[in-house]
Amino acid sequence: MAITMTQESNGERVGPREPKSQPEGLPVPDWTALVDGIRRGDETAMAELYGIFAKGIRYFLLRNLGPEELDDKVHDCFVIVTQAIQHGDLREPERLMGYVRTVVKRQIAASIDSAVQQRRTRADFEDTLFTLSDWRDNPERNVMELQRTEIARRVLNGVSRRDREILNRFYVLEQSQERICSEMGLSYNQFRLLKSRAKARFGELGKRLAAGASINSRKNN
């Protein structure tokens, strides 16, 4: 499942946030009880199911399909899941997460297929070249991605030639960490440290850019 970056509605970030402390343990639901409750049509169980999965489902659908009709698509996923549970199709309650993931994948695939078909039909009718325009192709998102790329370019230009080669091997040539370390004579820690420094620099430049933008914005206002 391809993941693209979040487009936040306000205060666009152009760099990574500072990592939070070690994630706390998530409360593990009683899957069996939850599934039983849904099977009985218990509204509390339905609400709990929604509480556990809604944000995650929304996250994946947003990245892959965009904001259009997002609420409807999230709702559709829940309908599919609850109906499957009520029909007894979910054999193992512990596999509920996997089941939800499968439903989301199918929803994404179906939506993309539908979009392709619609565009193809329209294109034929209008006798134009067929292109599949992606929801990601919007001006705000483009600017954000251009900014990030520019920051990354500065990061790459600011490191030594050797470090740049290492980073390009990983990010562009898609070589594995093991291969890079072996061929470039690095330890795993050295490799991770290099990436970590590049990421820190990326964040630093992003903050400066954001700070500069907010200053300009205040000046204009």
């Binding site: 993941i3 998530l26 990030r148 080669e165 980073l167 960490q177």
Partner: protein, 208 residues
């Protein structure tokens, strides 16, 4: 609905199996192995912290990839590397190198003989000829009555001196070893006395 059910497998994911930075980065780049992807995605559905981490790591990783692609050295390196990695190209290069090496050595062997010998007389007429050789032994017949040592000089058709040296007289004539390889052309040999007086002149031809 049944199709969805069939996709369930026997894996029971740990809800608290938070993705490592490496895995999240590989996932953002689309390079996480299939064996890890499903579990990570299931976890991401329920874990807001890891989703937020993914946003940050993924933004950086994707930007680095895009910026790296735009770097001219990365692009050319990528193209060169992929071109030379092709087995056919590598083998062709090796073959060409072998052919070049063989050609160099075989060329030298066929065009230049190790040595040649020629007897010259001062009488005018047809020019004797020989092949090009690394060493040309000349016997200058009918030397002057007075003995040596003599100085000998070899000239090309343009009058340039290509070799000179001293030579001793023998009963058969004056023997000279010209130790430079003479290319195809006409050459003249002059025999001088020690005091520089021209005593005899000869000519010969090196055949192509």
């Amino acid at each position: 609905m049944e199709q969805l059910v069939e996709e369930q497998d026997g894996i029971h994911p740990d809800l608290n199996a938070h993705g490592t930075e490496e895995k999240l980065e590989l996932y953002a780049l689309g390079r996480l192995p299939d064996s890890d992807r499903a579990l990570l995605e299931e976890h991401l559905i329920v874990c807001a912290v890891c989703r937020e981490k993914l946003d940050g790591i993924g933004g950086f990783a994707l930007a680095m990839r895009e910026a790296g692609k735009q770097q001219p050295e990365a692009a050319s390196t990528r193209k060169l590397a992929s071109f030379f990695r092709q087995p056919a190209v590598s083998m062709a290069l090796v073959f060409v190198l072998v052919v070049i090496v063989i050609a160099i050595f075989s060329t030298e062997r066929t065009e230049v003989a190790p040595s040649a010998a020629l007897q010259l007389t001062a009488a005018r007429g047809g020019m004797p000829s020989t092949v090009s050789a690394r060493q040309l032994d000349l016997r200058l017949a009918d030397p002057p009555a007075e003995g040596g040592p003599f100085r000998v000089a070899v000239f090309n058709a343009a009058g340039g001196t290509v070799w000179s040296g001293l030579a001793e007289s023998t009963p058969a004539g004056v023997d000279v070893s010209v130790t430079v390889t003479l290319p195809q052309g006409d050459y003249f040999v002059r025999l001088y006395s020690v005091d520089g007086k021209t005593l005899r002149e000869y000519g010969f031809r090196v055949r192509g």
